[in-house]
Symmetry: C3
Subunit: 261 residues, 3 copies
Amino acid sequence: MPRRRTPIVTFLTDFGTQDAYVAAMKAAVLRQTRDVHLIDITHEISAQDVLGGSIALERAVASFPPGTIHVAVVDPGVGTNRRLLAVSTNSQQVLCPDNGLITWAWRRFGGTARELTWRPDSYSRTFHGRDILAPAAGMLAAGKSLATLTRTLSGPLLLDLFMARGEEGAIIHFDRFGNATTNIPAGHVPPNASICLRKHNLGRLQRTYGEVSVGEPLALIGSSDLLEIAVRNGSARRELKLSLGDKVWVRRDKRVKTDGV
Amino acid sequence: MPRRRTPIVTFLTDFGTQDAYVAAMKAAVLRQTRDVHLIDITHEISAQDVLGGSIALERAVASFPPGTIHVAVVDPGVGTNRRLLAVSTNSQQVLCPDNGLITWAWRRFGGTARELTWRPDSYSRTFHGRDILAPAAGMLAAGKSLATLTRTLSGPLLLDLFMARGEEGAIIHFDRFGNATTNIPAGHVPPNASICLRKHNLGRLQRTYGEVSVGEPLALIGSSDLLEIAVRNGSARRELKLSLGDKVWVRRDKRVKTDGV
Amino acid sequence: MPRRRTPIVTFLTDFGTQDAYVAAMKAAVLRQTRDVHLIDITHEISAQDVLGGSIALERAVASFPPGTIHVAVVDPGVGTNRRLLAVSTNSQQVLCPDNGLITWAWRRFGGTARELTWRPDSYSRTFHGRDILAPAAGMLAAGKSLATLTRTLSGPLLLDLFMARGEEGAIIHFDRFGNATTNIPAGHVPPNASICLRKHNLGRLQRTYGEVSVGEPLALIGSSDLLEIAVRNGSARRELKLSLGDKVWVRRDKRVKTDGV
């Protein structure tokens, strides 16, 4: 019998890294199994920012191999009666509160959501990440079947993503380099369109940073299949003075179109 | 013979994460053994804040399974003749300088302290975490006996915790969410007491965040068995304008008491 | 046949820790092999600061055992035609862009540089760390030969280090504790010289912090064999009001010299 590959459990939270909270979750996994890779996605999600956590979670689910188990905890509702989820998506498992955190991964990869019903004999009311989600992740990593920990669910709670439907969208996220993600799906940006900000016309979509000069702004499709705005070797956020919610327009250039290009 | 479970070595420091210091300690463990899990507790203890490190260390010792080896380095005395410790506490090992860092774990779990006397052939005077503590942790993880690395010690140096003895205490710690820990032990807070700050009466002790409305402050007993002050889904530090050292009072409500409630 | 020791792959970037970028690189390694230790050096290199990354990388290469594979990504030129490197140095492998990032390790340890020519079937133009360097590191960790992934190269691009040649140098780096590294090699500092800043005479070189009182400044030779300036139990940067680029002088004390001391 071939030996099973060492499973992967990841952690995505808004806990920061100055306290022992993240380590406490890892300890809970290690109590279940030592044959596991423990990987941090990020713990710098803004406190209680479910949307920001959802974006980062989608990118994690896009990156990891089949079988990976993700523990995601941005959980303003802890201690209330919100449910916990076990979502199968992109051939991976996500354990998280049912508060919309799964939205972005669900939108991109679809999946099957079950309710995580397993509970330890006793657990805190304020730290389900350590007391329920992490031990459950450890049990899954140790080979326990999902069915024994969960029950069926009609569907997860999803955030309204407010995806742009027409020619106007907005900036919804910045990464650490100051690159801006918009809510405009790739499919809404024809090749001959111009991308405009209030005070900048970025011209047509570029395929890569290398297509503009150092310090120049550009628009391109990012890894989440959304329109992004960047500055080559710089920060679009700082240099274009962008803020969350800033409007972005996709202007179809009619003349070019009628020229058949 | 059953295979030994892969050991766990954790790291708690005030080194921050912008330099290669933490990695250098992990490298020192990996030179001794590769059959090990390396887990970060935190590296964001304020520089040379032995008390803050001690609180975080206690929480780590509370979370990890028996046999875990913790390397804790908040070490303003490095290069002086302060001793190094190997403390057995809560069925785990802590390797750290003898400067009070063990205080909180010792207060909660008790233990046995030995002096870590092992030294490599040569070592720096400024980085005992890398040169002594981490290799010793690696040797313990590899199965070397504690006795060969240590000698008996009368007792570790302990910080004066200034635990509140009467009805007045103070805030001694904030976590990343702005929750405040006080120096008032759970045993000093009768169920019918009111918890008061200079400008706020928080009423009685709550069991969980869910017992107050979103945005409301509350007092509860935290995981270290100390009185904590929080705001549901918010930051007590920011919203109640709290600072380290702020006074906290436990007011027994005599009338209620005489009513037999 | 003795079992091979679990390989080590490290990561050094300017990605920060608020996004999923670092995790995506680790996922790429884990797709190649699960028999690996994944270790963070730091992700807090200032954005696109190749020199700062080079200093941290040298310290990582100084710390890790033979066979370690380092993935270093500070890559302002991603998407241009800059090459990728596989450098053998200090019995370890460094995979990084050919933009000077290897300079400090190369200066200290020498080595052999090859061009990393392996490419996946498709890859992004903006994230070679995830798409090329990390998978290549995973393949090396899994035992693939370097020769199959690389070709010979005349030599790597090196930064001009502007090492001090005479008696005047400058501060080139601060660590998190406010210790300052200068560009003055140990060999330029005779034992009887005085170390001077614009407003401070630090006296002779000390061997360790313990040789001055708490709060006092001192000059000593750091782990990179360069002159460093520190304050015992304090921050030289803050307390001496130092900045990057500040001048530092090595003053030979002629009188002492003629006394034959």
